[in-house]
Symmetry: C2
């Protein structure tokens, strides 16, 4: 036997008993969260508690690399601490001023393989959760490494219920959530939200996902979740060049579901903006040549039923201008939509409109009315084709005055092919790179991106504020053709799961609830009031009014709320809620003194008493209320809507009588 | 919130405290091994001890399926027990009669997901180890299911050293082994062999790998190994149709390294032969037009340097006939070898010889001399191309009297593409199916397969006795061009690791040790005596004499051993050995009264005293000894060989003075 260098080190590297010097602890600013990191028996661990209640049992840390045996961490050292309490301003968002109040603990793990010889781990402790990331700063500059394992664990303590879906394989994130004992999780997407018998709510996610694969979480049947980054086709998790840091892995910890929704950890763990001037992007509402295609009234493809024809688009522009919408989305405008486009996305041209779509006439027409074209780039998952045209595609849109582009990566077979024909997961490192590259090219052309079938949001809008919104969940489109369509609980699960990641372009506002379908599971499963409340509950800086113009003009009573509701906010608060049951959200418009409120329930009728303490004391407001009619029910009478006006103050308590599948939307208009 | 059926079951499925009825135990026939299986906290576990010493701590069981939350096992039931003590005969092999002495414990796990509602687990306990497999017999016939997780664990207790290599990605198994603390295992191929501070030797592997992905083992840094079946390109581990059973997962447990090598669990856990008449396959030695290509004297490709020309092949046939070899392997005989063939294996034709290779003339020429052509099918990893020609290819060989075909799957880029262009791992379910299909087509044509770049052996030769040998490790070919070539320890690691799986076509017998290379790490790193001993140590029913004819004729003293050594055995015993240090193996020829012995050391000189108690008492033998010369050293004087004859009996003790990198080969010829 030859003892090779690595084996020699292993033979000498006897387990080191945990010593005081091998353990470092820190608390969050309000002493709510405590975290310790330590080395024992060759492994590095962290553990977390909240006000003395164990949240995470000792959980392993670190990455593994190709060509190296698993590291044995022999010491913990070089602890550095920092306390931060600052605030910063979002150029647009659900909250203008964001407080960043955390204590930082950074340590170095000393390991016995070359790439692990000195691993930095930085923890940030907030009162509502933690984040940590690895700093492989000791890997020499330019050295290429392959990450083949992520040993990051989250070992929960006690019994939890989880809201999750199986993140199987390579498909996009468009599933219904299921609720189970958290020990039954197989492989779950994040944010992964759980509710404990101990009264705690947890959500696991990551922040600042840049040039690294998106992380899934695998359950072990006993409450431990392990990081599972989406691999390259050859099984390597990440290809990096030294030195590098990883994304932040985050755990939100609160005593209510709303505490998770109102956490700003996600944004705080991202870097400040790299875009000097984002003033060209204005949050807006938009309509579009879109729902009519989902209803099969017109088509994406060319021919006599082609939806994206100049006359039709100008009709939408007239409507938009009349009712104050800033944009008109048009899908199916460019060559490539004919035939099974999800299987040959490489036929898409992003610079050649169909002949009946006169892009310059349309944009000039809109400009005269103060309405922008919302651009659209459906790639069919053919990212190589899209990347090759990206510069020209963005330049065209910039030339004609488009400032927002919705992108799409629909691929029914689930296969996204790279330059080498390799099948890429939808959010592996390759696609993470692609999406950010698209955003950067777009930024150079003063274009904002609203990505559908995206990599999940990890707060990158702070750094790239033209990365404005995304899909990444089952949106309203499933209410056109889903089997089944979204059940009422879906939109009271999203605020505590998917929405923790960031804005979602859910496209609310379908007024023709039944759209000709007899079965409730084949059409929108909500009341009309719910469709209004969604504009407040599901935040996005671009909000679609998804239905057809004629359906809005048929219900001017309800439509008034959509006309009034803004898409940019001074502040936002989740006033009440339980995951999958109900939610009440209030938001104050940016630069305004009004407030808006949205309340939703699941399939059960529910009466909620809501104190209005968020209103400015001493002020009078006209509450313009859009609520379910007395006999409303999403199954039998979805469009029964009552509008009423009441004078209220911060001392009042409003009672919401939510119908099954129902909701309430309110504008609180400041009177004096 | 809607409680869907699964969630409802979860809510009711409270953890069940372990009860007597939820625990079943069994012992091996000699009461050496004890195993218990139980259900606790919703999970199913097994644990193993040997004479009261814990070997495996409670380790989880079960598979996971797409579309199902993780099972909660709520009860253990229907325990069935059996005791087996029988023996069966191998048609050829390292041991004619195989004793199968085990106790069986089969239980049913009751779970709360549809596919896990009733999971059978069958354990077989031998005195030298265990095997277990799952029986998903309750899945309805014809129901397609996707296995997405394998929860099988092996939780070792205490400190072990392991001999392993990193099973990264999709490459074949041709690596040097490294020795480390077993906790440093990242992802390892099996057989995975370990030596404990407690004196126990363990080896983890599987048996009867049919229509299921090959299993790798992932370490967790703390001694737990978890099954990691090689996935399909989309991440699914196995696509099965109900009902089905899995391969056996095996653990060999012994008090010596040799005990692992002499275990027959692997064969015993395979099914009896499905080939009624295998008499047409005769174990044999062979030479070949092969090493001269590795030395770049001739080429696989066509042209003036083409090795596979009729005249050259007939020269090898003359040599084979003269010295008693049964076959001549010829590589490079068929169209497709020109250019970068590993990247376009789809250009291979398996029915069209190059014009200078007259296959019918050659085989007729050989037949007249009693020498067979050993066929060769190099696929370049293009399995679709190979599968399409398989029937015709085997028919051609059958027509010309070929009964052994060496196959190859060399693919330097590591990508094996399936019919859909998907990149398949070299031993995922797709390739497991492919290799067995090739063996079955071959069997129909009375052809035996010696697969290179194969799926690892799991004892399938019992069921398909035309699956005779394989590569699946770093063979002698690396001594032609490896960087570095195989160090001396390699061949004293293989018997306790790779060889536990089954026969290996290592191709020993290189006499021109240096083959013109000055650096020891660029040529064969052994003495000449070692090259002889390998014929005994590394079992294969087809053994190559890999060197050039002229090199054998230059050393008739050494060559005599190769001429004498058989390739089929009555019995085999590992007399001594330590992993990576040394080994002594004795084998008795099938149908003969002689014995053969091979001894090897690593890079250290070693003196071993070997009692000859395996010889028949009262009989006299002429020991024809081939040993290192007194000043032999693999670095400085590799070809110093002493041959001597001594009369010995079973009461004698032979002392082997093994040079660095040296060995000893002995034929014990019965005298009376």
């Amino acid at each position: 036997m030859i003892l090779r260098p690595l084996a020699l080190i292993a033979a000498l590297g006897l387990p080191v008993a945990a010593q005081a010097a091998n353990r470092e602890c820190a608390q969050s600013p309000g002493k709510v969260i405590e975290l310790c990191v330590f080395v024992d028996q060759g492994q590095a661990f962290y553990q977390v508690s909240r006000r003395g209640v164990p949240v995470l049992a000792p959980s392993t840390l670190g990455l593994g690399f190709a060509g190296e045996p698993r590291a044995r961490y022999t010491a913990l050292g070089n602890a550095r601490r920092a306390a931060v309490d600052t605030q910063w301003e979002q150029p647009w968002g659900e909250q203008r001023l964001i407080r960043d109040n955390h204590n930082e603990l950074a340590v170095t793990l000393t390991g016995d393989t070359p790439l692990n010889s000195s691993v930095g781990v930085t923890f940030r402790l907030f009162d509502d959760g933690i984040g940590f990331r690895y700093d492989y700063g000791a890997i020499p500059a330019g050295q290429a490494v392959s990450v083949t394992a992520d040993h990051s664990q989250f070992r929960t303590v006690g019994a939890y219920q989880a809201w999750w879906y199986e993140a199987l394989g390579q498909e996009r994130d468009e599933y219904l959530y299921t609720q189970t004992d958290a020990r039954r999780i197989t492989l779950a997407e994040t944010p992964l939200t759980m509710k404990g018998e101990n009264g705690l709510y947890l959500s696991f996610h990551e922040a600042a996902l840049v040039d690294f694969p998106s992380m899934l979480l695998a359950g072990d049947g006993a409450g431990t979740l392990s990081a599972r980054p989406m691999p390259w086709p050859d099984g390597v998790l990440a290809r990096k060049t030294g030195p590098f840091t990883t994304p932040w892995r985050t755990v939100l910890i609160g005593e209510s579901a709303g505490a998770l929704a109102d956490s700003r950890i996600e944004l705080n763990l991202n870097e400040p903006s790299r875009i000097a001037d984002i003033s060209w992007f204005k949050p807006t509402k938009y309509v579009g040549v879109w729902w009519e295609m989902h209803l099969k009234k017109t088509t994406w493809g060319s021919g006599p039923t082609h939806g994206a024809n100049t006359a039709n688009v100008e009709r939408y522009m007239d409507f938009a201008a009349k009712y104050g919408f800033g944009g008109v989305l048009v899908e199916g405008w460019n060559k490539g939509w004919d035939g099974e486009w999800t299987e040959h996305g490489d036929q898409f041209s992003f610079t050649e409109p169909y002949p009946d779509f006169d892009i310059r006439a349309i944009t000039a027409y809109g400009k005269a009315k103060g309405v922008e074209l919302i651009g659209h780039h459906e790639t069919g998952g053919a990212v190589v084709n899209y990347a090759a045209q990206l510069e020209d595609a963005m330049k065209l849109y910039q030339d004609v005055g488009v400032s927002v582009v919705k992108t799409g990566y629909v691929k029914h077979s689930g296969d996204i092919l790279d330059e080498n024909g390799g099948k890429q997961w939808f959010a592996g490192q390759y696609m993470v790179r692609h999406h950010l590259h698209a955003v950067e090219v777009a930024a150079a052309h003063r274009i904002a991106i609203d990505a559908h079938e995206p990599v999940k949001d990890t707060g990158l809008r702070r750094t790239w504020p033209n990365m404005i919104s995304r899909e990444g969940a089952r949106g309203q489109e499933f209410n056109a053709w889903g089997t089944p369509t979204n059940p009422p609980e879906h939109t009271v699960i999203l605020p505590f799961t998917r929405m923790l990641a960031g804005p979602m372009d859910y496209t609310p506002g379908i007024f023709d609830i039944t759209h000709g379908k007899a079965e409730v599971t084949e059409r929108v499963q909500s009341t009309l009031a719910t469709q209004l409340a969604l504009y407040v509950v599901l935040y996005s800086p671009v909000q679609m009014a998804a239905d057809l113009p004629e359906n809005y003009e048929a219900r001017p009573d309800a439509f008034q709320f959509i006309r009034d509701v803004p898409t940019d906010w001074e502040t936002s608060r989740t006033l009440a809620g339980e995951i999958g049951d109900y939610i009440v959200v209030a938001r104050q418009p940016r630069g305004g003194k009004d407030w808006f409120l949205g309340a939703l329930t699941d399939e059960e009728a529910r009466t909620l008493g809501q104190p209005l303490t968020f209103l400015t004391p001493g002020k009078r407001y006209e509450a313009q209320i859009y609520r379910d009619g007395p006999d409303a029910d999403y199954r039998t009478n979805p469009t029964a809507l009552v509008t009423e006006r009441r004078i209220v103050t911060s001392k009042d308590v409003l009672t919401f009588n939510l119908a099954p599948g129902g909701g309430t939307a309110i504008r609180f208009k400041l009177l004096n």
